[in-house]
């Protein structure tokens, strides 16, 4: 696979995304809301000292899991434009007629969905951690972040969830014809991740590096499985003759 060919496709997609306000708003607004709203809702709504430091650190540590969900949510927005957009504009055939392999096209388009999603997720995560530290250092007497949980969540689980969502977008794109449907179907991928977040919030599931590594392992296995399915879906002939 020639990375240069894939990168040309990625850069073209970035050019298209720049014109889509919905994508820009999603990339900026969602991480910003989560990064500000979550810590603020806990730290600022409770009266000082009302939450014991150990509970506060546990609550805020768990909140960071939402960035795994975010990493899976954003590609469903962008991926829909990346793949269905080509379908709607009927630009896949001329693209497939170029001397580019299926895997180069798939990789280029996947990268176009992955990079901004992960960039926004990481930026949101860093802002979240900075805000939490700023708001709780006095109360806790130490900086809660960065810690091992944050490292595993942002550097391992979130990228794996993001890849999973991109792959799912490819599969969804082969079956639907409009961007809204693709986004709705694509967002189904976040449900199991929301469940993990909810279990963590209710303390039914301990959010620690060990459990987060298990979640990452499961995501990795799912990534590998969906990789083969998405590769089988994104075949030149399949796209031209069977994509609905």
């Amino acid at each position: 696979m020639r990375f240069g060919q894939a990168w040309i496709v990625t850069m073209k997609d970035f050019g298209v995304f720049r014109r889509k306000r919905y994508i820009l708003y999603s990339l900026v607004a969602l991480p910003l809301i989560l990064a500000i709203f979550l810590p603020a809702s806990i730290v600022l709504t409770a009266s000082p000292g009302a939450i014991p430091p150990s509970v506060l650190s546990s609550l805020l540590g768990t909140e960071l899991v939402i960035f795994i969900v975010l990493a899976a949510m954003l590609p469903s927005v962008i991926g829909a434009y990346s793949f269905i957009g080509e379908k709607v504009e009927k630009s896949l055939e001329p693209l497939l007629a170029t001397p580019t392999t299926d895997s180069e096209l798939l990789f280029g388009k996947s990268l176009a969905a992955f990079l901004p999603s992960m960039g926004a997720t990481l930026a949101g995560g860093v802002l979240f951690m900075a805000l939490v530290d700023g708001l709780t250092r006095g109360q806790l007497g130490y900086s809660l972040f960065p810690n091992w949980n944050a490292a595993v969540i942002l550097l391992l689980a979130a990228p794996l969830a993001c890849v999973l969502s991109v792959e799912f977008s490819v599969i969804v794109s082969s079956r639907v014809n409009d961007i809204r449907s693709a986004q709705q179907l694509g967002s189904l991928i976040i449900l199991p991740l929301v469940a993990i977040f909810a279990l963590g919030e209710t303390a039914a599931f301990a959010i620690d590096p060990y459990h987060l590594l298990i979640v990452s392992g499961i995501l990795l296995v799912a990534d590998v499985a969906l990789f083969f399915v998405s590769m089988a879906t994104f075949q030149r002939e399949e796209i031209l003759t069977r994509w609905k």
Partner: protein
Amino acid sequence: MIEAQDLTKKFGNTTAVQGLNLNVREGEVFGFLGPNGAGKTTTVRMLCCLISKTSGDATVGGLRIGRREDQLKIRQMVGVLPENVGLYEDLTAYRNLDFYGQLYRCPPQQRRERIERLLRMLGLWERRGDLVGTYSKGMKQKVAIARSLVHDPQILFLDEPTANLDPESAKTVRDFIFELKKEKRTIFLNTHNLDEAQRVCDRIGILKTSLITVGSPEELRSSLWGRKTVIHLSSVSDAVLSAVRDLGVRNVEKVGDTRLIVDVGDPDRENPALVRAVVKAGGEVRFVTELRPTLEDIYLRLLKSGGSPA
């Protein structure tokens, strides 16, 4: 330049193209005619290595479409204008072309020069910075044609290049095809437009799942229609009719009271005798013309009869 031997494509139980044998010469404009669903687009897609063949084989520029290692080379060598323009409406015309130029690995300087040349030729240079979404249908079609040429291919596949265009835009596109023809490019033209095929193509193939016939417009006319002489008279009497029949012509048809249509093998040789016989039988000849069938006549006749594969 393009050769197909027994090329066949099946989708499940449906045969889209059956046993296609074809030879398109270098520098030739080859027209592919056929009704909807005849297999024209499927043929182009096979020849451009977009879809696989079921059986048979074909070569494009000496490279085999069925060979994996040749497929990228074929796609690099050919330019394709699909039926749908498929441009990125949120990008400018220049960016659209530049993107494809990059994918075809054209060096930056050469890419810039080619894009400028093509957009100037098509009258779009001044609007190169506008989003394609703001263009008219005709302008988009021109950009799509420029896209198929951005890497300077010697072989072009044009699928319905003037479909849905207004007459003025269609003429611009047709004129551009003439320019390409002058540059000695090999052009494979799928079209529904018989008038266009007649004007632009050196040879024409008529397809209906299998190839019904192939030849130049003139060859198709003479081989499938023959040559016909029309004699316009004051009135066609029985004596005139029998005088013509007595000459042993293949077929004579009385049309109305004033016209005779006569099948002739060689008008130069047979027409003088024909006119002499008509005059001798008391016919008053007003004028004599040749009945030239349009490509549409031939096309419809072939499709109606089912034709026999070439």
